[in-house]
């Protein structure tokens, strides 16, 4: 499949700002999807509200554009009503963690078979740069002009604790690893969660002396630490402070029973 058979060419160039990391994730997702040779007409793409949730509208397949934060709730319903469809959820950090935080935790707990790709750009980018739950400590945004005094959520660790089957975190600087991880997530049965720390030069970088997207990529490269290496180090605990360290890697890969098996969706059709 060519790139523009997978994506709608007539919609290009897309609306994302120059240097936005969402396009990188789109490339990696296309590559993973193409290498696995999955059928496009048997896959449903679901997005909530936000920049990253616009990705399903660019894919040449069925898309469900849902209310803010409820992408996982809609995907659960779709998956149970049409078990032959594969569901992929594209969502952002505000959509998934702040407004839909409870849906996210309960989606992991229920372990419905779906792939959730969260593009974490550390800010509410579409609405003008308000501080979100993942804005790092002491970083500036529109609503925190003296620096954000709160500590951010660690979405991947929450997914591990809530019981997802596959959890990984990468940044947009690690494109080959991200592609490999997306392939594993698409093949996984159960709730697969991939968090991608992405750059937002327009609203996050501009207020934090990183207006150039390449400066943000350099920040990712310098501050990211592989999880398998932190485990061996003295500090086993993952640092919540994104300003100091971004822990990347595969967090968990397990085979818990998924919700469809437990309630027997296949039997009832």
């Amino acid at each position: 499949m060519e790139l523009f058979e997978f994506y709608r060419k007539d919609r290009w160039p897309h609306v994302f700002c120059p240097g936005c990391g969402i396009g990188t994730v789109m490339n990696c997702f296309y590559r993973a999807f193409n290498e696995l040779e999955l059928p496009l007409d048997k896959t449903a793409f679901i997005g909530g509200i936000g920049c990253s949730s616009r990705i399903p509208l660019y894919i040449n397949s069925d898309a469900l554009h849902t209310t803010h934060g409820r992408a996982i709730a809609f995907a659960t319903g779709l998956r149970l009503a049409k078990p032959e469809l594969k569901t992929v959820v594209f969502t952002g950090d505000g959509d998934l963690g702040a407004i839909g935080g409870n849906h996210f935790i309960n989606g992991c707990r229920r372990n419905v078979d779906m792939t959730v790709i969260c593009i974490n750009n550390n800010i509410y980018g579409m609405t003008g740069g308000q501080a979100s739950i993942t804005t790092p400590h002491d970083y500036q945004s529109t609503t925190t002009p003296y620096g954000n005094k709160e500590y951010p959520f660690d979405l991947a660790e929450i997914a591990v604790a809530a019981g997802a089957n596959y959890v990984a975190r990468w940044t947009t600087r690690h494109v080959h690893e991200l592609t490999r991880s997306l392939k594993a997530a698409l093949q996984k049965k159960g709730f697969a969660f991939v968090e991608v720390v992405s750059q937002c030069p327009t609203n996050f970088g501009r207020r934090n002396k990183m207006a150039d997207p390449t400066q943000m990529l350099e920040w990712f490269r310098q501050s990211s630490v592989r999880r398998d290496k932190t485990k061996a180090a003295e500090v086993d605990h993952v640092d919540l402070n994104l300003a100091g360290q971004i822990t990347i890697g595969e967090f968990v890969d397990r085979n818990r029973e998924c919700y469809e098996e437990l309630i027997g969706v296949g039997k009832h059709g």
Binding site: P18, R31, P201
Partner: protein
């Protein structure tokens, strides 16, 4: 295979200039049709994939380009001889 930048898609974020390990790209000086100073392929012969007959090795620029502007095209016979 050599990289080619689609001038109708490039938004001049210069991520390719930063990410290429062989420095094949450089910042552009000419205004493109959609109003950006699009990056240019200044040294395609330095690319890892040059003269490798379709074998992909690095691909950092293709995967990283947020605007899907970079794609691979086969070289002409003249470029292959270089």
């Amino acid at each position: 295979m050599k990289p080619v930048i689609d001038l109708k898609l490039c938004k001049a974020c210069n991520i390719c200039v930063y990410i290429c390990p062989k420095k094949c790209y450089s910042k552009g000086a000419d205004l493109s049709e959609i109003g950006y100073f699009a990056a240019v392929v200044s040294a395609a012969e330095k690319c890892y994939n040059h003269n490798r007959d379709g074998k992909m090795i690095c691909e950092l620029c293709v995967l990283s380009c947020p605007d899907q502007a970079i794609s691979w095209h086969p070289e002409t016979e003249e470029e292959k001889r270089k």
